[in-house]
Amino acid sequence: MKTLHLPFSLARAQGHESPQTKAHPSAVALPLVLLAGLMPLIVSGFTLSLLALWLPLVILAISLDFLWGENHVISFGHGAFFAGGGYVAGLLLKGPQSNSTAANYAILGTSGSETHSAFQSLVHTLAAPQLAGVPILALILPPLLCGIVGALVGAVIFNIGSVEIYAPLVTLGVGVIAATVFLQLSALGGSNGLSSIPAFTREIASGSQRSIYYFNAAWLVLVYLGYAAFRRSRAGRRWRASGDDPIRLQALGVGVHRLRATGFAASTALAGLAGALYVGASGFMSTQTAGVLFSVQALIWVAVGGPGSLWAPLVGVLAIQFGQQELSERLQDSWQLLLGAVLILVVLVAPGGLTGLAASLARLARPRSRQPVEREPVQPEAIQSESIREPVEREPIQSEGAMP
């Protein structure tokens, strides 16, 4: 009998935080709100507009970390959901276009003014319900549609054995196909993409950079709080368990397939929301974002941040995007090369990412913690005999341990 094969977990290799030590939402809220609120006072207007663009990417990274760090499922297709959400929101924010010619609105070969006008009236209807001058469905439909598609994809993925292998392959295919389809839909601008999409804050603050930043920052804080609370909750523990040991959880009477498919749908819905917020800041969405390369870049954020760690999405996105901002001009083609090398390096050397490295450093800096890291080197043959005979001296349990 071969040993039961459990899905590999980078997070577990790093030492998964126990539910008790997972950060309390309030511990997340204060620094995050302070940081987000004070940022406009610190940085320049240009950096602020970049941050407004990157905060939705953090939400995308959270949706991936929710799958990868907490459930050991890797998706190579989240870029497609991000782009899909962005397209839906973009269409609704722009509203019906009266001046574009009907010939531009051929959908998958079936050209003609009928498709055009039907599509326009659909957009018109959907863009009608407004709140503070914003078509409110532009924030509701993207996560909803992405979630529905994600539920279908999830139903397929978790029906196959060896989820950790086949989930990436299926999502890779879904992503590539979605990108091809987006390219064919001329309602989405084809290879030109959708451009000059107005911001969500166009009526409230006439769409100034600062207002866009605050809008996205508020959403990010909301999502982060929700994520932190979820990780501590019963549902969060169940979600983690369904990734750690699906067979045992199934034996305990939990419908693992449905649970994981639902989780996948939730993740894609979050990716769709991120896409919607992104187009509000960038004013632009093209099929490049749906492609595999962008999906992998999103995985690289999480990998560099450290999957399974609460701050990984924020750290990963900011580190890579600042790097890209600084270096891509100078390096051009070599920037992608560097990104690939970074991915290989992280996988081989630092599976815990930056947050994992920081945690190891913190542990090294505190030698009097409960689990001493540095020990006297012991001869291999001495380990068995000595460690069994003499009980290892333990330090008294610190009060911060919060033992029940």
Partner: protein, 282 residues
């Protein structure tokens, strides 16, 4: 039209079969899901671009897979060996490798499209008044001969037996005195060599550019998802089936529709069957 579909479907299926066979061998032996596989197809195509001029097309077709296999061998000893038997790690690592290879090709050879002249021009009459590029017949022939050779090598030769033993259980194989490291290296070289051959064969039919690898990777993975990652025979059967179905839609309609339909049908097939993919063996 039927003959056209059959002919094009078989040539698409032949390329799929070569790439999926390589993926299956690599995964079966060392548990590495090679997301850089499309980039080895890319290297094969560029090998053809570079070698067919000075050496002539036929020598280039023979040498290119060997060159790609040598690159694969070197990469296995330096990088891939750290990723054995760890699907998630191997996928991320090999995707990093894929990006590196693609960007290196782009930096060295430039992003523009390259073309290779057809080694034999002309068309083969297929009856019913239909024609077919002669090169596609050569491609199908090459693929069939190579596949049979690899299958025989796996089934009958001593080194093939070692490969299958390692695929069944690498620890047992090592304890029986086999040099598992060498077997793994050979398996990776053979797998990447097959991808290189696929690249060399399609180079005269398609435009060659740095981003071409992804579509071959995705095609091979479609086959592998349907066939399971460890079964050579089913991989070949599904490759032919996928090729034929794709052509059956692509010839009368268009490529995009064919891709969407094939993926949709594949996902439906996978969704309706239950956990049959992991039990199969090489």
């Amino acid at each position: 039209m039927l003959v056209q579909i059959l002919a094009q479907g078989l040539s698409v299926g032949a390329v799929l079969a070569l790439t999926a066979l390589g993926l299956t061998i690599i995964y079966g032996v060392m548990g590495v899901v090679n997301l850089a596989h499309g980039e080895f197809v890319l290297l094969g195509a560029y090998g053809m671009v570079l070698l067919s001029g000075p050496l002539g097309p036929w020598l280039a077709i023979l040498l290119t897979p060997l060159a790609v296999a040598a690159i694969g061998l070197a990469l296995d000893r330096t990088l891939i060996r750290w990723l054995y038997h760890d699907p998630v790690k191997s996928m991320l690592g090999t995707f990093g490798l894929a990006i590196v290879i693609r960007q290196l090709v782009q930096i060295v050879e430039g992003p523009e499209l390259r073309y290779v002249g057809l080694p034999i021009s002309g068309a083969v009459p297929l009856g019913f008044g239909e024609q077919f590029a002669a090169w596609r017949v050569v491609l199908i022939g090459f693929a069939i001969v190579t596949t049979i050779a690899v299958a025989l090598w796996l089934a009958r030769s001593a080194s093939g037996l070692k490969l299958r033993t390692t695929a069944a259980d690498s620890e047992i194989a090592a304890s029986l005195g086999m040099n598992v490291g060498r077997v793994n290296a050979v398996a990776f070289a053979v797998g990447t060599g097959l991808a290189g051959l696929a690249g060399a064969l399609i180079a005269p039919l398609e435009s060659v550019y740095p981003n071409m690898g992804v579509s071959y990777l995705v095609g091979a993975f479609l086959v592998v998802i349907l066939a399971g990652l460890r079964n050579v025979r089913r991989a070949l059967a599904w490759a032919a089936a996928v090729g034929l179905i794709t052509a059956a839609i692509a010839v009368p309609f268009n490529d995009v529709l064919a891709q969407v339909v094939v993926w949709g049908v594949a996902l439906l097939i996978v969704a309706t069957r239950r956990q049959t993919l992991t039990v199969a063996r090489v």
